[in-house]
Amino acid sequence: MQKRAISFLKPYKKYMIVAWMLMLVELAVELTAPILMAKIIDEGVLVHNIDRVILWGFWLLVITFLAFVAGIINSFFAAYVSQNFGFDIRKNVYKKIQNLPFSHISKYPTANLITRLTNDVTQIQHTTFMIMRIALRAPLLIIFGTAMAIIVNWKIALVLIFIIPVLLVFLVVMMRIAFKNFQAVQKRLDRVNRRVRENLKAMRIVKAFYRKDSEISRFIDANHQLKAQTMKTLRIIELNAPILLFIMNVGIVLILWFGNIQLQIGAAGAGAVVAIVNYATRITGSLSNLSWIIMSFARAKASNDRINEVLMMDEEDLVQNSENTLKGKIEFKNVYFRYENHSKDINKKSRWVLKNINFTVKPGQKVAVMGATGSGKTTIFQLIPKLFEPTRGEVFIDDKNIKNYNSIHLRNQIGYVSQESHLFSGTIKENIAWGKQGATNEEIMKAAKDAQIHDSILQFPNQYDTVIGQKGVNLSGGQKQRLAIARAFVRNPKILLLDDSTSALDMETERKLLEVLNKYHCTTLIITQKITTAKQSDSILLLDEGEVIGQGTHEELLKTSQLYQKIYASQSGKGVKSNV
């Protein structure tokens, strides 16, 4: 079911055709007006026939009104199509993102995906609206205007036939140059903005180091480049209109000159010359519109490509089927993992994040995972709910390869608490109930109590109905972590994954929390930096640079692992000096 963005226009084809028809009416009026004008002059004024002047004048007014009505109705249809089209794109892109495997999503920076859903859709919407109103009008006016001029008097119209193609080529070349330059401006502008952001973020340091002079000169450097590029670009663009106008105006002068000659030999009427001059001025107007239209097409195309990139990705199979509940045994067998095109990585591309990982966790066991940043702890966690798939090797849950599990079924039995404790705007209750749609108040409260957050919630202004997030109460880091844990508890998970999610809790709270875990009969993996936490678990997994370098209880590791000894020493406040 992969559809390109443009295919969402299909249901609105009829409406589009109506809009175009109405636009053609407007165009026809615009093209007939000069003819009527010529008739007023030729049949009325020149031969002193007042009835003709009234007749053609009346028709001129009628068609003007007709064009207006057509234009108004066109507006409704065009807006209808573009709004619905935009809605459908947004819907499908959003759905797509929701249904993509996490490994695909994580390749894109968040801001990048957000832009696709917001700015890019708006851009396409505006262009669609324009296409149904003026985008086609400008080229059509140029074509029909020239055609009408030829019909009126082809010899005089020859001037137009020569000039217009030249102008079109000129326009396209100029647009290319302009577009490239605009991109350069944008880059420079981004750089200036980046310098400002960097500086603001570090104001205290800048002041402390007394580095304002070097900061200012860094900024001026970027600012200077922006100025130079902006000036150059805008000046190139300003060259466009005067040249275009001049050539067109010379064309009109030529029409007059040539018309004068034709008149003298009696090959054309005066009205005809006036009409052609009239067409020429209208074409001039359309040509200057054309450059603007090309510009906005180029932008819409870029947006369209970005959206299609998302729409063309393969979805994850998320059909749920009922299977038995898990017992919670986890086993990693020779697991290797590396990220695909992880281009943001400053180190060499795609190095192994996990190398030959082997371990088994029995149902109900509590295992602490320790190791440096980048040692692969979080990656191990992400393999369990199938957010990523191992590059090599296998992961088993209850002795069944997780490849053979249905994602939804598997995830519904896992409580994953990530490092960032991401909460959503809404009430506290909603945030906890997030873990289980339709959770009862009792279940929510029990989860909150177990996560040691119940007492804090009661102190909030509206207790469980307190709104959190951007517009609501600000929570402390520890409170956020505990809410995220409550959200996992309410699921009654068979496997609980805590990714350094107790770091902001004090000893006492953490101890209580770990005790509660025993009640839940779930297999627990917990990433931690604290020896005290590790001590309370059944087993410890020590990672370094993607490999397991130690496995066992606290006491065992103290004997066998040098690294573990070092960590222990540093955290108990003894022996660091001896290592210096």
């Binding site: 108004i72 995906l113 860094r218």
Partner: protein, 596 residues
């Protein structure tokens, strides 16, 4: 030609207030720095407008003389005249823009540099009171808005006004009656536009609101994608998204439809005046009051006449929103600078690092003292730990020591010298820092370490990195010290950032060291390296440590327990434990770590 994207305009910005006039005056002054060139541009606009009016007039004349009367001679000189007029018309319109862009960009460049420089000179309290995003948007969005407006608006407004008056004068001269008829479209235009904008403003507001809601929701759910997936909540968020998206669609439909009437209205009025001129003009020509050439000229003028009206209406909104942006920029520029050093302040070469606080009190607001009567003395080379709950006043003490703020009473002495008598620049050069947030900028690792001492040699930089335990990880990078760091230092861990920060401090070789090393985000292995590096750094320097892991505190020569703005307890780890006071309680509560 427009390169303006659809900006989210705040409706408040579009209100015309008295202060906006003052701001326009200021902007004008800004532009007047290039007065000579600016007058040249305005002169060119005038010439350009005249040529613009002359063109259609000559065309009409040519039609009368050579098309209807078919005069035989004299057409060539007239046509050459016409081409000359058009040539100068195009030339002046290019040159006016060419120079105006120069003036505008020069002005924007100066304003940007000025606001940035001014930010560097503002007291830290300015930044403490505001959010970064807010200041950021003034330097970026608002300046960008001013930039694009200055480029086009000045010329547009002048030329619109001139064209309008010029055209009307010419039209009156040609035929007062036809002019009066053409003018009838002005009230039609006015009421038509009013009818439309009255409706659209409501729908645009609504659209803006729904767009904001939708964007907020998208941002939240896309950044929380990992949680949504792991909790299988895809369907749930899709439903909510569709609701929000639908509301946006409804508001957007009416906003777009009705605002789509504007060009149609303009078009109709253009055609209407065209028809009226042809009709009435034709009648008049019959009576012989008018020539056909004048009718042609008139139709051309009528077109020229509605365009500036439309442009002015467009420019008005753009101008107002740019002026609102300029108002915000000036607000920053008019903030008081950090106090300049006292007249008797002098630079000091080197200090040993004896620090003394004598009865120092300070408050950020007026109502309450943040710190009260702080007294303590530190010998050079000693380590002082400041502990206490958040908001107790630990950072305030450091802020005062740095002269970020000035104490309301009491004196701070370094080597027996009041710090008010030392220039800020030399005072701050004695300090080194390792703070919670590490400032890394876009540049190489080498440049980032060198930030501590701008004239350090490559050897010095590497030496410092070695001492900071940063050398080994830097050497593993593809280009070693010349590897580029991205803006926010993504790609290296929090702990590694801290190591770079230590390297910086080592390079600086300060007499007094300030550590605010909350380690919650640092992994255990890097932490060990960091501890080592810090130990090296602290040797023989006066060190202030804010709140930490036990071992740093345990080894401190002096622990100051700050509580509610006062020093509640002081002593060494052992004496304080024996005292069984606040320190003892904190120690018990957290067992191994004192996270404050």
């Amino acid at each position: 030609m427009s390169r303006r994207h659809h900006r989210n305009v705040n409706p408040e910005d579009l209100k015309l207030t008295r202060s906006k006039f003052t701001t326009i005056g200021k902007l004008w002054k800004e532009l007047s720095n290039n007065r000579g060139l600016l007058f040249l541009v305005l002169f060119l606009v005038l010439v350009n407008t005249i040529f613009g009016i002359l063109g259609p007039f000559l065309i009409g004349y040519a039609i009368d003389q050579f098309i209807y009367k078919q005069t035989l001679s004299g057409i060539i000189p007239l046509l050459i005249g016409l081409i000359t007029v058009y040539f100068f018309y195009s030339l002046t319109s290019f040159l006016q823009n060419y120079w105006m862009i120069g003036i505008a960009q020069e002005t924007v460049f100066t304003m940007r540099t000025r606001i940035f420089t001014h930010l560097q000179n503002l007291p830290i309290s300015f930044f403490d009171k505001r959010q970064h995003g807010e200041i950021m948007s003034r330097v970026t969005n608002d300046m960008d808005n001013i930039s694009s407006t200055l480029n086009s608006s000045v010329i547009q407004i002048f030329s619109s006004v001139l064209t309008l008056t010029g055209t009307i004068i010419f039209m009156l001269w040609l035929s007062p009656l036809l002019t009066a008829i053409t003018m009838t479209i002005v009230p039609l235009l006015y009421f038509g536009m009013k009818w439309i904008t009255n409706r659209t403003s409501k729908y645009f507001k609504e659209q803006q609101k729904h767009l904001g809601l939708l964007n907020g929701f998208v941002e939240e759910t896309i950044s929380g994608q990992k949680i949504i997936k792991s909790y299988s909540q895809e369907e749930f968020v899709i439903d909510e998204f569709l609701q929000k998206s639908n509301a946006l669609k409804k508001a957007g439909f009416w906003a777009q439809t009705i605002s789509g009437f504007i060009p149609k209205l303009m078009n109709m009025l253009n055609n209407l005046s065209y028809a009226l001129i042809a009709f009435v003009g034709g009648m008049l020509a019959l009576k012989g009051d008018l020539t056909v050439g004048i009718i042609v000229t008139f139709t051309e003028y009528a077109r020229q006449f509605t365009r500036p009206l439309h442009d002015l209406a467009n420019q008005y909104n753009q101008l107002l929103s740019a002026v609102a942006g300029a108002e915000r920029v000036y607000e920053v520029l008019e903030e008081e600078k950090e106090e300049i050093d006292e007249i008797h302040a002098a630079p000091v070469e080197r200090v040993k690092g004896n620090v003394e606080f004598q009865n120092v009190s300070f408050s950020y607001g007026r109502d309450e003292n943040t710190i009260k009567n702080i007294c303590f003395q530190v010998e050079n080379g000693q380590t002082v730990a400041l502990v206490g709950p958040t908001g107790a006043g630990k950072s305030t003490i450091i802020n005062l020591l740095m002269r970020f703020y000035k104490p309301q009473s009491g004196t701070i002495l370094i080597d027996g010298k009041n710090i008010q008598t030392i220039t800020r620049e030399s005072l701050r050069s004695f300090y080194g820092f390792v703070l919670q947030d590490v400032y890394l900028f876009e540049g190489t690792f080498r440049e980032n370490i060198r930030y501590g001492k701008l004239d350090a040699t490559d050897e010095e930089v590497e030496e410092a990195a070695k001492k900071a335990n940063a050398h080994s990880f830097i050497m593993k990078l593809p280009n070693g010290y010349d590897t580029k760091l991205t803006e926010d230092g993504s790609g290296i861990s929090q702990g590694q950032k801290q190591l770079l920060s230590v390297a910086r401090a080592i390079l600086r070789n300060p007499s007094i060291l300030i550590l605010d090393e909350a380690m919650s985000n640092i992994d255990t292995v890097t932490e060990i390296k960091l501890q080592e590096a810090l130990q090296r750094l602290m040797q023989n320097r006066t060190t202030f440590v804010i709140a930490h892991r036990l071992n740093t505190i345990q080894n401190a020569d002096q622990i100051l327990v700050v509580y509610e703005g006062e020093i509640a307890e002081r002593g060494t780890h052992e004496t304080l434990l024996k005292k069984k006071g606040l320190y003892y309680q904190m120690y018990k509560q957290k067992e191994n770590t004192i996270v404050v």
